[in-house]
Symmetry: C2
Subunit: 253 residues, 2 copies
């Protein structure tokens, strides 16, 4: 028999969520816009029958996808943990899905406890765009030199001030971040750029990609990326790559 205290015990539920960012104005809730957070919170509320506020690992931009976004909510619901997935999914549209649900300690926080985030950017380097992949890739018809891109990327690995790679005016705090690794790889017509960092500045992944593409096209040299980093000036770096090629693929704790 459950006592009153036990039945009201708060439970902390972590979810791993996948979404297609195409028709979302990003993850974070905002007025008059369709956001992943809002869609998720409403679905969870229908299941747990009380208001919830999500914590989450990464604030992805509009058009950016995720196959591994981590969120957490607190609930008084006594629903078995395995029932959360089908229950929440039954209230979600077809461009968001909950893949994993797990009970976690109250000290777990998807943002503050995350040690690193991994983003993958996908480029369609075929002459004509792949129609089936058009919402998940940036189409660049000119051949990219992936070796040169990797050489350039290596200058960015480590603890640096990434001010050159953050959208100007978007952050008042420190612009120092640690990149653990960047891997540029070709597989057939597709080129992927996978970046793992402790955290990302606003647009940082997309500006890094835009700059590495300049290298891949031969417009700048790999070594130039070292000078761009040292310039600490957004104007030194390349353009911001389109959102649709970017995907949050992992959060590590």
């Amino acid at each position: 028999m459950r006592g009153v205290n036990e039945s009201r015990k708060e439970r902390h539920i972590m979810l791993i969520v996948e979404y297609d960012g195409t028709n979302f104005s990003g993850f974070q809730k905002q007025a008059n816009a369709r956001t992943v957070q809002d869609v998720l919170e409403r679905a969870i509320e229908k299941v747990v029958k009380h208001p919830v506020k999500l914590q989450f690992s990464g604030r992805t931009d509009g058009g950016v996808h995720a196959v591994y976004q981590v969120v957490k909510f607190v609930t008084s619901s006594r629903m078995p943990i395995n029932s959360f997935i089908p229950a929440i999914n039954s209230h979600l549209p077809d461009d968001v899905v909950v893949k994993i649900a797990r009970e976690v300690g109250c000290d777990f926080h998807p943002r503050y406890k995350a040690k690193s985030r991994v983003y993958r950017y996908l480029i369609d380097n075929g002459k004509c765009p792949s129609v089936l992949m058009r919402k998940y890739t940036w189409h660049i018809p000119n051949y990219l030199n992936v070796d040169a891109m990797q050489e350039a990327a290596n200058y960015l690995i480590g603890i640096h001030d990434f001010r050159s790679f953050h959208a100007s005016g978007s952050n008042l705090g420190s612009t120092v971040r640690q990149i653990f690794g960047i891997k540029c790889a070709r597989r057939g017509r597709f080129v992927s750029i996978t970046i793992e960092a402790n955290a990302f500045l606003y647009h940082m992944a997309r500006i890094i990609v835009g700059t590495l593409v300049e290298v891949g096209l031969g417009r700048i040299k790999p070594l130039d990326v070292k000078y761009i980093l040292e310039a600490r000036d957004r104007k030194a770096a390349g353009p911001t790559a389109p959102a649709k090629g970017l995907c949050l693929v992992k959060v590590k704790f």
Copy 2:
């Protein structure tokens, strides 16, 4: 200097086309529906400045995709062959693209000269659906036994009367076709079924897939597929798999 005859010479242009079938009512033109043929013909007409009527390799159903549909048109245009791709693509929506353009002889016919068509069906066999692949896969959460599916598929290879695998009432001609090969393969969470045949009856690929899935789920045995084939009765076979998992991947001449 070109003579009058030469300038009016008819040219036969073959195109290889990719499309996302999601928002099309199939390839073939029909009244009051968005079809690939209609969209393509209108784009080509804007380029060549005269009416065209496309010949094509495969009449894909609504929702079925293609990465290699072959079409042909006849034109009096003297545009260089390499200019057709960018010119036509500039008039196409983002769910169709021309990938290859080639001048062919007047006896080339994408349908009658085709020796075989290859269709690939993609199943998402993960517990929760892959959101990013939802428009290109059939989600089946229960684990599929791919070895059993392959064993069953082998009974279908060869020249057979495929009446059990064609949508009833849809064809008055012969239902004999030759399947050159079927390959069932797992790659991670995805299961693909690739079928090469001289030609396909209406819904044939999707009914074969629906039947092989029954085997993969253990509802029927591989040997049952031999009896289903011999029954020559649509009611003996499994359900028709959803259109969205199917893709025309190659036409061989």
